[in-house]
């Protein structure tokens, strides 16, 4: 049995009755993180648990929280409704408020085999982390004086505070990972001779591409990666007064913004296409413009001449022609559009490629990348694995982390002489776009952006620009998640009486009759509100996740059990929505038992409270029962309406057995009200006096 692999999400044994589908955000994440789950936990204010989910899927979540390029957000289905969920910002909130820096990672060495990791970028560090957890002795060899690869020498500090990186590095050292800095590996044979049984090459892509123009070698011309490395390692390159940065990617933007922070007033970016084609993150471009950086589009330098310690840069204007193989329009020079600009420094940031020492003896392919088998990361040399930018060319931190994790698992397989298990995707993916009729019914809720450092304060130093959410902001943002793929299904098609109730009650018009007259609930449209589950007269519909299916019943069970243990019958049972108010802590006082005799059953939206749950609450002997939802603030449609229907039905039963119907109430608590709990207080009082009255009449014992 492959014990080691069990702790990794990709191989987690799946509960057979879990019919949830993989949402597009998770599918787009190179680490395959359970985004829906942790966003859901944040929306309930359960930050520590959210952090736990995050840590299971990501070795260095706090780093990703700052710099991940968030492909998940690009795939997020909420963007079909309004704007995607701010997933990265929510992760940042969870790691900061959940106390990620306090988390202790522990590991013990249980295998005799030693593994060497060449390069300490995110791929190398992730591999070290997982191999150490698997029980191997690991040595990381790094050419520079400090660990982190591009996280240290590439990405500027205002986007990734070095303290965050240092915490992760310290954690690795505490786990027992051996570190060798200032050690450039030139040959792998020596490492094998030193007794390492496997080697993981993660040397990144640090060789800047050349522009291929006259005068490129002149003093005053520097490449982007080198410039950023020098600044990041504490050097202060002298740049003069006027700086040009050539390129349109993130490295170009980082170089320009870094130059601004070194005090350069006039920084211009020369980009040969237009803004629409710029590969840089639009948010970063926005921030660069705010900081006073000038971006000149459709221009490219053709000749550099150094005169009087300045650079005369001949430029030519471009226009967009036919699309090239990348699908973007190819820029072509406009005739007679040549002009000359003077700069003190020109930073060329047009891309990097890996540079692998030839003595490594590994096969090199397109774009100087190391060739590997993508599912095992093995190279042509036995025992030598490779991953990260060195294999893919310049990519992203998360892709490097995923490569590091995969390498750890495959190296483990290799050292334990196991046939590598193919990565099994047991769950179906959720595909398909939301239909217009579904979108129309989904409440539009504005995306909450985290605050930014005021831009006057920015350009002076390397302070972090993006700040973290406040508690309430984060919860409101997280509530926007559509919870793709955890909706409902007709689990018992043979029970379905085709009564059409689901089709009639669904606020989003999801269920439909197919041509054969069978009712269908398409997973890609269902909004997981749960209304139809409680209304289906045949009980044929269930939520796709076993946890969601049992949630209310289980929580009610716990409440009843703990009441029984304390020998105190609960006076009042309240089914309270966990989104919103409880999440923000506004009603937390009810939890603390400040109201003696009030037991809270936490529910994930009141629409999931069924009539029988209400009856069960009364069966425990409760004198009063209430349902408290978020009313207008609910992210779903009609939830209060349906819970009121069920309450009316149960009230009829109460009346017919001689109980006052007022003992059952629905509250729509709004966080905008002055005292949202006022109504609740009144109810508690009222039930208290009803009980007193029955004690006097001798109906119940006090």
């Amino acid at each position: 049995m492959n014990v080691a692999n069990q702790s990794y999400p990709e191989n987690r044994s799946e509960n057979a009755s879990d019919h949830s589908l993989v949402p597009p955000c998770q599918d787009a994440c190179p680490l395959h993180m359970d985004i829906r789950e942790y966003v859901g936990l944040v929306s309930q204010g359960r930050i520590m648990e959210a952090l736990q989910v995050i840590r299971t899927g990501n070795p260095f979540p706090s780093i990703c929280a700052y710099v991940c390029t968030h492909p998940c957000e690009d795939a997020c289905r909420r963007s079909q409704v309004d704007k995607p969920i701010a997933i990265r910002s929510l992760k940042r909130f969870a790691v900061e408020f959940g106390g990620d820096r306090m988390v202790r990672a522990e590991a013990e060495t249980k295998h005799a085999e030693k593994v060497a990791i060449v390069g300490s970028g995110p791929a190398g560090l992730a591999c070290a982390y997982y191999l150490k957890k698997l029980g191997y002795a690991v040595t990381v060899l790094e050419a520079h004086s400090e660990l982190g690869g591009m996280l240290r020498v590439g990405i500027p500090q205002y986007r990734l505070p070095r303290e965050v990186l240092n915490i992760e590095v310290q954690r690795l050292i505490r786990m027992g990972v051996e570190i060798r800095t200032d050690t450039r590996v030139v040959s792998l044979d020596l490492l094998f001779e030193l007794g390492y049984k496997a080697i993981f090459i993660t040397i990144g892509a640090h060789q800047s591409l050349r522009m291929g123009i006259e005068g490129e070698e002149s003093p005053g011309v520097i490449d982007g990666a080198t410039f950023l490395r020098e600044v990041n390692l504490g050097l202060k390159p002298s740049l003069g007064k006027r700086v040009a940065v050539v390129g349109g990617g993130n490295v170009a933007i980082d170089a320009a913004r870094t130059a601004t922070r070194l005090g350069i007033k006039k920084v211009s970016i020369l980009y040969r296409r237009s803004r629409a084609e710029m590969p840089a993150d639009p948010k970063e471009v926005e921030q660069a413009l705010e900081e006073g950086i000038d971006i000149i589009y459709l221009v490219t330098p053709t000749i550099i001449k150094r005169e009087n310690k300045r650079l005369n840069v001949t430029c030519v204007r471009m226009e967009l022609g036919e699309p090239d193989e990348s699908g973007r329009q190819r820029p072509v020079p406009i005739k007679d559009s040549v002009f000359i600009e003077k700069f003190d420094t020109l930073i060329a940031a047009i891309g990097q490629a890996p540079q692998t020492p030839s003595d490594f003896g590994v096969r090199i392919g397109r774009g100087s990348t190391i060739q590997v088998d993508p599912s095992t990361l093995t190279t042509n040399r036995v025992g030598v694995f490779a991953g990260g930018d060195a294999v893919t060319g310049p990519a992203t931190v998360t892709e490097a982390l995923a490569a590091g994790r995969l390498a750890a698992l495959r190296i483990d397989d290799y050292l334990q002489h196991r046939y590598p298990l193919p990565v099994k995707e047991t769950k179906e993916k959720l595909g398909g776009d939301l239909l217009p009729k579904t979108i129309e019914m989904i409440k539009k809720i504005e995306r909450v952006e985290p605050p930014n450092l005021a831009f006057e304060a920015r350009a002076k130093d390397f302070e972090t620009v993006e700040l973290v959410y406040g508690w309430e902001q984060a919860i409101n943002e997280a509530r926007r998640c559509l919870r793709c793929g955890v909706g409902v299904e007709i689990l018992f098609q043979d029970k379905c009486a085709t009564c059409l109730t689901c089709l009639r009650v669904c606020p989003y018009h999801v269920p439909y009759l197919d041509v054969s007259g069978t009712i269908r609930i398409p997973a890609d449209q269902c909004q997981a509100c749960g209304i139809c589950v409680a209304e289906c007269p045949a009980k044929a519909i269930v939520l796709r996740k076993p946890f969601d299916r049992r949630q209310v019943t289980d929580e009610l069970g716990h409440t009843i059990k703990s009441a029984a243990e304390s020998k105190n019958k609960p006076l009042i049972i309240g089914f309270c929505c966990q989104y919103g108010l409880y999440g923000t802590g506004t009603l937390a006082r009810l939890w603390r038992g400040a109201k003696a005799g009030v037991s809270i059953v936490p529910v994930l939206c009141v629409a999931k409270v069924e009539a029988t749950h209400l009856l069960s609450a009364f069966k425990t002997g409760a004198e009063g029962v209430f349902v408290a939802g978020c009313g207008e603030q609910c992210a779903r449609e009609n939830t209060t309406y349906w819970v009121k229907q069920r309450v009316a039905k149960v009230r009829k039963v109460l009346g017919s057995i001689g109980l006052e119907p007022e003992r059952l109430q629905v509250f729509a608590l709004s966080s905008t009200a002055e005292d949202p709990a006022e109504e609740l207080d009144k109810f508690v009082e009222q039930i208290g006096s009803l009980r007193l009255a029955s004690v006097i009449k001798g109906e119940v014992k006090s």
């Binding site: 007269p537 045949a538 029988t612 009856l615 069966k619 002997g621 057995i657």
Partner: protein, 227 residues
Amino acid sequence: MIVAEQKPLEEIRRMIAPYQRVLILGCGTCMTVCDAGGELEVSFLHNALQLAQARSGDVAHTFYEHTLKRQCDPEFLGLLDEKTADVDVILSLGCGIGVQAVAERLPDMPVLPGVNTSFMGMTKESGVWDERCAACGDCRLEDTAGICPITRCTKGILNGPCAGPKKGKCEANKDMDCAWILIYQRLERLQQLDKMRRYYPPRNYRPIPRPRRITSKAGTMAGEGNG
């Protein structure tokens, strides 16, 4: 579809009072569709009865629940056998047919009706049903443009309208459309108003012996009795 309504809780409690172990038996067809006795209603009633019992402190009943796909077919009832060994009474949430079918299958078991079987009808909107057919056994909808005067006219007259309708509503219930006005309008639309001008003799119910039996099997011998 057959439409019914669950009996009031008080009545059900009175009926089951003499029995200790009660099986609440739902029906997965019509009673499910009309919200009277499907699995959801079975479990709701189960909980309501338990609550009533807990609050009143009367006789302690033990309740069981089960829902069959249909109570009106003997094969489905066969699935009941093992469920009934330890019960004293069956409270059927099937229609009147279901109750009788269960009783027929289990000669020694008391069977109680949990719903009032009301009519044959159709859905007006979610949770609302209207009567449409009286099962007269001699359908005349051809002459009345697909609108049944026997069910939908308060007086059930065959040569309507009477002298009473006001603004298209029935004189006995001003919220209800006059069936005969509806018939007139529809015949007019279909250009069959001549059907209005005919006289329909009173119907003779006598030749219909009850209970009726229908067989779809070809070759059944004439004269076979009902037994």
